[in-house]
């Protein structure tokens, strides 16, 4: 029993990181129907920026803030340079451009900073462990859960309680109609990229601390898995992305804990195939009929 709880706790921490990333995927997909392949690499950039801040002696909160702001601007820049002109042309061109951006970020980082694995300085986040009813709780877990919870609550507020959020929901519901209602679609898309990239940066820092490693390709796998989490929850649905992220994290932790860690990476893709076969709209997604 304590074993099971321990695995579930690990899964919850990792799942909430996935959730933070998945929220970004789902928001961008919801608003422009594009898989933003570069999203995973924004995570990586966020982790590096935070690492730079940490090496300069900044604490956790300031590093997080700097990383989030930098990546938010990077996200807007990516949308402006690589997606805006391509989006109306064709989906395939937009996907191609997104892959180009992803590879560009990965290898420009590798070129300037090297492929070596780096870690956050020892004093940046002192580790402590507590034990409770036979399970070990690391303060990393608490940090990840706490940060995720705060960010998700802020996001929920922005999306459902502000004018900007209303505009975002309107554009993702029907871009053309919202344009007719006087919503500036381009700036709404830019704001979506701003917010989702900031979330990705936070996820990057948390991922870097949780697994104690930062390297140029670190965003690839969590990015893919978070997308699958978003599909699992129903793409386009923010609560769905959170649910999907946490479910995916827990499933992975259970498989890694009781089966074999070799199959850990395969789990997500099996889930993807199953979701696509059984319920393509995801758990909380609504089916949309294609019309001519």
């Amino acid at each position: 029993m304590p074993d099971l709880l321990q695995q579930l706790l690990n899964g919850l921490s990792q799942g909430s990181i996935y959730a933070l990333i998945a929220v970004g995927y789902t928001m961008i997909y919801g608003i422009i129907q594009l898989i933003n392949f570069a999203h995973g690499d924004v995570i990586m950039v966020g982790a590096y920026v935070a690492l730079g801040c940490a090496l300069k002696g900044l604490g956790f909160i300031p590093s997080l803030a700097v990383a989030m702001l930098t990546c938010a601007i990077l996200g807007v820049l990516i949308e402006r340079v690589a997606y805006r002109r391509v989006r109306p042309v064709s989906r395939l061109a937009a996907l191609t451009s997104a892959i180009g951006v992803s590879l560009f970020l990965e290898y420009i980082m590798m070129y300037f900073l090297g492929a070596d694995l780096r870690t956050y300085p020892a004093g940046f986040f002192p580790e402590r462990t507590y034990s409770l009813w036979g399970i070990t709780i690391n303060n990393k877990d608490l940090l990840v859960l706490g940060t995720t919870l705060v960010l998700v609550l802020i996001l929920q507020y922005v999306i459902y309680r502000t004018r900007t959020g209303k505009a975002m929901r309107a554009v993702s519901f029907d871009g053309q109609a919202s344009q007719l209602m006087g919503i500036n679609v381009n700036s709404t898309v830019a704001i979506t990229f701003f917010i989702s990239s900031a979330m990705a940066a936070a996820a990057g820092l948390l991922y870097g601390i949780y697994f104690n490693s930062v390297q140029p390709l670190m965003g690839l796998m969590p990015g893919l898995k978070a997308f699958i989490a978003a599909v699992l929850g129903g793409i386009g649905s923010v609560p769905g992305a959170m649910l999907g992220g946490i479910l995916l994290g827990m499933t992975e932790a259970l498989v890694a804990g009781f089966g074999g860690s070799m199959y850990r990476d395969a789990v997500a893709f099996i889930i993807l195939i199953l979701v696509l076969l059984i319920r393509p709209t995801g758990l909380l997604g609504k089916g949309v009929q294609e019309k001519v």
Binding site: A82, L92, T96, G100, F104, F227, D265, L272, L276, E290
Partner: protein, 324 residues
């Protein structure tokens, strides 16, 4: 007259290919072409097969597959098991390699291709990564250190005829009614469905053929390099092929050949700076997506007819005959 002209161009193409084949064969056997360039020549051949088969999926059917490295790995490893581990003949290895890749293509494609193309991109990307991880963990095929001692059975004739037959297969497929169905799926899947085209069937068909040919490229790769390592089949390989297809033109078979030749040779020159090479390719990909999303040649093919027209333009006498 038209009939004669049609045969004439076929005859000319055959003659050009035969001359090229004999010339290179002589060049290799006499040592006129150095070992370095022979390796690059074989690599060009393998890359042509990869690019043309990816173009069948991405360019002609309008899907977005990122799993070519995975299919190539499946073909390479399964054929290597046949020849190296079991000691069976090479033709059987080719068949097994292609079948294995086609079967995995079917397994990946069937659930994902029922839906919109974007899911295929993620599923195939993940598939490629999983293939690598699984191969690293199977000791029977050498694990992470790789599979060694594969017999070197690939020579110039095998590469040449594999490339020609693959291109011929794809061309004939596209020109058949099945191929036209695939094109209609690309142009407008909804309209195609209305006209009674079973869009899932044709998407899966094109995807499986593409996967089988990627498997063939893997077989050739395995039996030329005689050593296989899982890390060779990373996403970078798929990305290279994608760049070839984009450079050559989505939906242009001859474009894929041109793209494969250009990118393979460029890669050979940029070998010393691997990271910068990827940065350059990434920028190339972004720029082509923004300014020329259909690729360099677009859907145009390099045919004798078009070349003639081009000559006409230069001579100031534009022929009245249209391309197609």
């Amino acid at each position: 007259m038209d009939n004669l002209k049609k045969y004439l161009s076929t005859i000319i193409i055959c003659l050009v290919l035969a001359t090229f084949f004999v010339a290179v064969q002589w060049g290799i056997s006499s040592g006129f072409i150095s070992g370095y360039w022979v390796t690059n020549l074989y690599l060009v051949g393998i890359n042509i097969i990869l690019a043309a088969s990816l173009n069948l999926i991405n360019g002609f059917t309008g899907e977005f597959s990122l799993g070519h490295a995975g299919f190539m790995a499946v073909g390479a490893y399964s054929s290597a098991v046949i020849t190296a581990n079991l000691g069976l003949p090479f033709p059987l290895a080719v068949i097994v390699g292609m079948l294995a890749a086609a079967l995995t293509g079917l397994l990946v494609g069937l659930p994902t291709l029922r839906l919109r193309g974007d899911y295929l991109a993620i599923a195939t990307l993940g598939f490629g990564e999983i293939v690598r991880v699984v191969l690293m963990n199977i000791d029977y095929v050498g694990g992470a250190s790789g599979l060694m001692g594969i017999p070197a059975l690939v020579n110039w004739p095998i590469i040449f005829f594999s490339v020609v037959l693959s291109l011929l297969l794809i061309r004939n497929f596209i020109c058949s009614s099945h191929g036209r169905a695939c094109l209609s799926v690309r142009e407008n899947d909804l309209a195609a469905q209305m006209m009674g085209v079973n869009i899932t069937y044709y998407r899966v068909l094109a995807f499986v053929i593409g996967a089988a040919l990627a498997g063939l490229a893997g077989v050739l790769y395995a039996h030329y390099y005689t050593i296989l390592q899982p890390r060779e089949f990373s996403f970078m390989l798929t990305f290279d092929v994608l760049v070839m297809v984009m450079v050559g033109g989505l939906g242009s078979l001859t474009g894929s050949v041109v793209g494969a030749v250009i990118i393979t040779i460029a890669s050979a020159f940029l070998q010393a700076i691997p990271e910068l090479r990827m940065v350059i390719y990434a920028v190339l990909l972004i720029l082509s997506a923004i300014f020329r999303p259909q690729g360099l040649l677009g859907e145009k093919e390099v045919t004798l007819n078009n070349l003639q027209k081009l000559g006409g333009v230069f001579n100031g006498t534009v022929g009245s005959k249209q391309a197609h």
